[in-house]
């Protein structure tokens, strides 16, 4: 049983560019959450997707957007990249939107913005 997978593993972009990160949830999971983890910090909640809709959002600007597909996989898009967007981006999946459900995290995509 595959866990949460993310692609790509690493990515280098320049300021002003746009990036798309991908996540496939653990089998049987229908909810995907995205987190940003800056170097030396804990993860910060970006948003959560369920039934192809954004259900909750953290304190991130509109440059951060997402999508969930009918197969529950998800994409995170970041427009107009800033140097400060350099971070590890984590995807987590769970079954349902209850915050008592265990979230399973992927290994992350490390984004470097130059």
């Amino acid at each position: 049983d595959a866990g949460v997978t993310q692609s790509p593993t690493h990515l280098i972009k320049t300021r002003g560019q746009q990036v798309t990160l991908r996540c496939s949830p653990k089998s049987g999971h229908d909810t995907v959450s995205w987190y940003q983890q800056a170097l030396g910090q804990g993860p910060q909640f970006i948003f959560q997707y369920y039934e192809e809709e954004e259900r909750q959002r953290g304190n991130f600007p509109d440059r951060f957007s997402g999508h969930q597909f009918p197969n529950y996989s998800s994409e995170l898009n970041v427009n107009a990249l800033l140097l400060g967007d350099s971070a590890l981006y984590l995807c987590a999946s769970s079954y349902g939107t209850s915050n008592t459900e265990t979230q399973y995290f992927g290994p992350g995509t490390r984004l470097l913005v130059l």
Binding site: G3, S33, G42, P43, R55, Q56, G58, N99, T100, F105
Partner: protein, 113 residues
């Protein structure tokens, strides 16, 4: 403001010694509480969680944590540390009724032989 504080950035313990990692939170009401571990190149793995009831929670890999409401703390403990426990540990909280999970900055654990 909702926040999670892990006072220790880095802790070094000898293999076989006991371990306690500290976590304090500031929240309007008692949140749900979690401890995660992150090894290099790995995603976060849930060690244990507290929702209600017994304030001493048992987790995986021999870890336990104790919720103390009066101190707004949720410290993680292990009686005997193994070299494989070297990793980054994160305390996290989420309010009852929302999904905006807040993480502490993490404590890096080094295990000496």
């Amino acid at each position: 403001a909702q926040s999670v504080t892990q006072p220790d950035i880095h802790i070094t313990v000898s293999e076989g010694a006991s371990l306690e990692l500290r976590c304090n939170y500031s929240y309007g009401a008692t949140p749900y509480l979690f401890w995660y571990v992150q090894s290099p190149g790995q995603g976060l793995q849930l060690l244990l969680k507290y929702f209600s009831g017994d304030t001493l929670v048992q987790g995986i890999k021999g870890f336990e944590a104790e919720f103390k409401r009066s101190q707004s703390s949720f410290n993680l403990r292990k009686p005997s540390v193994h070299w494989s426990d070297a990793a980054e540990y994160f305390c996290a909280v989420v309010g009852r009724g929302n999904n905006d999970m807040r993480f502490g900055a993490g404590t890096r654990l080094t295990v000496k032989p």
